[in-house]
């Protein structure tokens, strides 16, 4: 009837609708496929390293004894980074959210974001050229005065290119991540809680202790976990700063190695089984960071209704 022209144009529109929603769906599924593909291709390319005879792997004692020292090294570097970065980051976040004058706060937030914008290779170059040199006297002092602690056992590295320096550079790199996440959460503390505490005569610190910190605790934990994920996977800072070696307890001697740096330093020249070994190492790193990130996201998700962390 008269409606034919209308229906035909509707048909065209319907096709457009289908194509568009199909494309959107496909893009979403592609992301899942990519993540699955990351795992799949890493596993496929890593299998030769797992099944190869032990003496063919670098070090000659099989994949496991190749990987565990650098897993420990990765954890040491990440833990150093977090131990340094977490208190400072919480302090900076508190400063921006509750201590700085209102007009300054957003500008200061931008300054912290600048820290995040600097490329990692520049941090690595800075750590190797400036920080390592400046910090050597501190290491000598530590070795002389605290040398009885295994982690500060001397003699200190003369170049300063140690796992502790790498950890400090990592701390600088994860600081803005933890800061920006915790700042968001601090700002979301219910104003009425804060004002109630102040009205009861609490000082600013007591107000923060009683209202802000309890409210933000899950957010802080997940922010630290996300920082941990970043610190575990960061490559350049360690590759450029650390003069690597065997696993050692002392943090102020050269030695230790992390997975990411091991891959970056060796992959470009690798071939054959070495490639598989390095990809297998990457798989191990992927699994570790995946687990850390999933736990962090799970904590955020559990407290979604309270925190604005995502």
């Amino acid at each position: 009837m008269t409606a034919t022209s209308l229906t035909s144009s509707q048909g065209a529109g319907r096709a457009g609708d289908k194509i568009f929603s199909g494309a959107a769906l496909a893009a979403g599924c592609l992301i899942l496929a990519v993540l699955f593909g990351v795992a799949l291709f890493l596993v496929v390319q890593a299998i030769p390293a797992f099944v190869a005879p032990a003496e063919d792997i670098q070090g000659g004692e099989g994949f496991f004894s190749y990987i565990w020292p650098i897993v420990i090294g990765t954890l040491i570097a990440a833990v150093i980074a977090l131990v340094i970065a977490t208190p400072v980051a919480i302090g900076v976040a508190l400063f921006i959210s509750h201590f700085a004058p209102r007009q300054l706060a957003s500008g200061l937030g931008y300054v912290v974001d600048l820290l995040a914008a600097i490329p990692s290779v520049v941090y690595g170059a800075w750590g190797a050229a400036v920080l390592a040199k400046e910090i050597t006297p501190v290491y000598n002092w530590l070795a002389d005065n605290m040398g009885w602690l295994p982690i500060f056992a001397g003699p200190a590295s003369a170049t300063g290119k140690t796992i502790l320096t790498a950890g400090i550079v990592l701390a600088v790199m994860v600081l803005p991540i933890i800061t920006s996440l915790t700042r968001e959460i601090f700002l979301q503390t219910p104003k009425l809680h804060e004002e109630a505490a102040l009205a009861l005569g609490a000082t600013r610190w007591e107000m923060i202790k009683m209202t802000v910190l309890p409210f933000a605790r899950p957010g802080i934990i997940s922010a630290v976990m996300l920082g941990l994920g970043r610190a575990l996977g960061e490559t350049m800072a360690v590759a450029l700063v650390l003069s690597s070696g065997a696993l050692t307890a002392s943090l102020i001697q050269s030695g230790n190695q992390t997975i990411a740096a091991e891959i970056a330093l060796n992959f470009p020249e690798a071939s054959g089984l070495k490639v598989s070994t390095l990809i297998a190492a990457g798989l191990v790193l992927f699994v570790i960071t995946l687990a850390v990130n999933m736990v962090a996201r799970w904590i955020i998700g559990r407290h979604k209704e309270f925190s604005g962390a995502n």
Partner: protein, 369 residues
């Protein structure tokens, strides 16, 4: 009996004394002077002066406050000092990094031909000559700059459609269903993939599909896309979510199809936010080193083909110039080139960051609220 005759002001048991308003300034001046004196005894340097003065200031202010105002106020002062101190500590590396890059990078950048030449044919002999005879440092970053731009552009071309469509799916079609929630979760997880693992994935993928040892700019672009897509999805999703529902409903009420509503109403409203999110994502991946290192190899010559041959990029250029100087006996020219490249890279990243802010501000939709 005397108190009835001369009324003295009795202090309430609940109040305590207060420090004068100028107390922090007084303590600061005293701390600075004392710090200078102490440092003069053991050898003066500005950094040590700052640290010692800060410690003296904290101790002085807190103990004075403790004596006059009581322990609660003193604790509050202590925490204030710590928090401000944390902020100052966080500023130190930022200032130091920017200062180092500026001081070391400017001599590299002003060398003639630094931006216009590649490293093709520049050997250690030239570097040795420039150190020994003072001739200008040869070689430049043109090939690396070109490679960075090509790789990043290709990564953007891959990531933006995928990321934007995914965001549209999540906001407009997903209805918070199981698939949408799974995608959201895994996008978050993807944000945390270490960059080197993304590079290894791209390398492993192309090794398996094309052939072992495939290293081109395109492989690096795929690796960067893996890092970039989640950032684009998150920022676009946030932007699409804040488009008012009334706009969509008005379009539907006029009989407009959903896909045309999205294309003509929703996206134009959110385009400033999306564009600034994409710019920030580019800024994030343009400085990535590790994924390019394992996927694009090192090149010293200009390569205009993203799909064939090894390709240099600014971050890997910095990395190789520092770790493997062109002339191992005289690393200074290489270091100078590396810092010059670092300065260029930081300038690029800062321009992108500022650009993102400008885009967000200039093209923001005019919604009067």
């Amino acid at each position: 009996m005397t108190s009835t005759l001369t009324p003295t002001r009795k202090r309430s048991a609940l109040t305590k004394g207060q420090l004068p308003k100028a107390a922090p300034y007084i303590v600061l001046v005293v701390a600075l002077i004392l710090g200078a004196a102490i440092l003069a005894l053991i050898g003066f340097n500005a950094f040590g002066w700052g640290v010692v003065s800060a410690l003296l200031f904290t101790v002085g202010l807190v103990s004075w406050s403790g004596a006059v105002e009581g322990s609660r106020k003193a604790k509050d002062k202590l925490v204030t000092c710590l928090v401000v101190g944390a902020f100052l500590v966080a500023l130190l590396p930022l200032i130091s990094v920017i200062w180092t890059v500026l001081v070391n990078g400017i001599p590299g950048i002003v060398t003639p031909g630094f931006l216009g030449n590649s490293m093709n044919g520049v050997t250690g002999a030239f570097d040795n000559k420039s150190v020994e005879e003072g001739t200008p440092v040869l070689g430049g970053i043109y090939h690396a700059l070109l490679g960075t731009i090509q790789i990043t552009l290709l990564a953007t071309v891959i990531s933006v459609p995928v990321g934007l469509l995914t965001a549209i799916y999540l906001v407009e079609y997903g209805n918070d269903g199981r698939l949408a929630r799974a995608i959201t979760f895994f996008v978050d997880v993807m944000t945390g993939i270490p960059s080197i693992v993304a590079g290894l994935f791209a390398a492993a993928f192309f090794f398996a599909v094309v052939g072992p040892g495939t290293k081109t700019g395109a492989v690096a672009a795929v690796a960067l896309s893996v890092l970039m897509i989640p950032v684009v999805v998150r920022s676009s999703e946030e932007m699409l979510k804040i488009v008012p529902n009334e706009l969509r409903e008005a379009a539907y009420a006029l009989g407009v199809r959903k896909w045309r509503t999205i294309l003509k109403v929703v996206i134009p409203t959110a385009i400033s936010g999306i564009a600034s999110g994409v710019t920030l994502a580019i800024a994030r991946v343009i400085g990535e080193t590790a994924p390019i290192l394992v996927t694009a190899g090192f090149a010293t010559n200009i390569n205009n083909n993203v799909f064939g041959g090894w390709m240099a990029s600014l971050p890997t250029f910095i990395y190789t110039q520092i770790l493997n100087p062109t002339s191992p006996s005289n690393p200074d020219p290489s270091t100078q080139r590396a810092w010059g490249a670092a300065l260029v890279l930081i300038i690029l990243v800062m321009i992108l960051n500022l650009g993102a802010r400008l885009i967000a501000k200039l093209f923001a939709p005019k919604i009067s609220r």
